[in-house]
């Protein structure tokens, strides 16, 4: 039996999951899925920034398009830190595809004119 806090929404349910992957304490199906994933292959969305070449002292925010393995967070960060883009930027622009073969793209999350 494992216990942890659900991070799917601000509600923060206290989930319990047993060895047969039966989940209790969740308030929605997403919580159950999260619990199962958390004990088998935990994943996280990463949000960060990348430099904007053609603007002074300015960064643009990015995120991974899907959650990446929790254990790879710092490796993914290293890749993100290498990226730079040019303004204008649009939400959804892909700054880097399939980072470290995780299947996740690094996508821009901010409009810069």
């Amino acid at each position: 039996m494992k216990e942890f806090v659900c991070i799917v929404c601000p509600r923060g349910c206290r989930l319990k999951i047993d060895d047969e992957l039966n989940v209790t304490g969740n308030s929605c199906p997403r919580g159950a899925n999260y619990a199962k994933e958390e004990v088998t292959a935990p994943k996280r969305i990463i949000t960060s920034t990348v430099r904007v070449n053609n603007r002074e002292n300015l960064l643009v925010s990015v995120k991974t398009s899907i959650a990446v393995p929790k254990g790879m967070m710092f490796e993914v960060m290293k890749e993100i830190n290498k990226i730079s883009v040019s303004a204008p930027t649009h939400i959804g622009d892909i700054a880097l595809s399939n980072v470290l073969n995780t299947g996740a793209d690094i996508v821009i999350t901010k409009e810069i004119k």
Binding site: T49, V50, R51, N57, L59, N81, S84
Partner: protein, 478 residues
Amino acid sequence: MCMYDFIIIGAGVVGAFIARKLSRYETNVLLIEKENDVGNVTSNANSAIIHSGYDPVPGTLKAKLNVLGNKMYDQVCSDLDVKMEKIGSLTVATSEEQMKMFDELLIRSKVNGVEVRLVNQDELRKMEPNISPNALGALFAPSAGIIDPFNLVIHCVENAVDNGVTLKLNEEVSSIEEKDGVFFVKTNKNTYQGKIVINAAGLGSEKVARMIEDVDWNLIPRKGEYFVLDHYKKGFVNHTIFPLPSAKGKGVLVSPTSSGDYIVGPSSEPVEDASDFSTDLFTLNNVKAQALDLVPNIPFVHQIRVFSGIRPTTTRHDFIIESSDKYKNFINVAGIESPGFVSSPAIAEYVFDNIISKLVSLKEKANYNPKVRPYVCLNDLSSEERNFYINKNKDYGTMICSCEKVSLGEIKDLFTRSVPPRSIKGVKRRVRAGYGKCQGGFCSPKVALILAKKLNCSPLDINYDNIGSNVLLEEVKK
């Protein structure tokens, strides 16, 4: 190596006024300051009161120079474009026993030549509706005032520099040697030669004095801790309210400040380490309790800041203004504790008239200008007047500090001055950007970037205050 007629050590309020006084004359003056800005230590952290001078013991230098200094301030503030308001002080008695002490204070006032009058309970309550019900009466000194202590020193040094004084910041004097009537003043960066040295080093004055000879006095640094409340509303108190003075000093005051905030403090405790400006809860709670005795409903919910200042009291218990025993050209101006701020312009006159003029004869400059170039302070202006300035320079329309309503133009103006800011605190002390409710939460990143641009450096090199007080430690995504 350049030879100076005068080397002044310390650009606090005392050094600033002495430098400005000397800048009237055909003579070359060097002003050395160890900090990254002028007026950055004791002059930066005090009650910012222009005391009336009724309470120092008659016959002391404190009494004499306080009263003289107070009278000089109208002209000084007009010349130097500094905010000052003579709102008057009320020294409040809360017991019959204390009421009796007014007799003695009335005599002192008379001897010191300060106009005061007794105010009865009814009148006191009209003047200060929030005063404690235990307050029985007060001594009202109408000539007491509140001042912007930061800009006083900054503008004073600016005016001195405009009139030819050389200012060196970030230089700390490490030794002084005399040879054939010339002083060799060594700092961490240079050695300067000077014919006359004036020690106005504040908390460092004993150390500096002892660089050339033994002195018969010791510095006892005394720390005072304060609260600052935001200018949430005008008129919570209208005067500077003191308890009756005691052996420990003037006691905990409650006062409006020249910027509309309220100040509560100080404590008064001797400290070992004159460079430890920390505050502690025990002392502050004590200050709070004492203040609440005088004004029971002080809205501490509006507290935005606490700070401490250290005053250079000495074993002489009076200002020390004299030539050294060994070298008449080495002048100590030490122990300038309360009421030092108000006394400073008079101290400069006293040093000049009683000491300097007996050492050298100086000729007045033909082109001396006692006034600083006027500052644009948009908050003092009507909308029409603001637009007049914005039409000339659109930066006056862009607001940087939302709490204190300071524009980009006012900040940029500072860099056209002869004593420009070199730190975030330097900007804050000059135009109040970051002194308000959010304490720089909204504007400090903007100010840091403006500074980096103006000082032509990386934001990583921007200091909050002295060199080494960097705000940012690393650039990411390089």
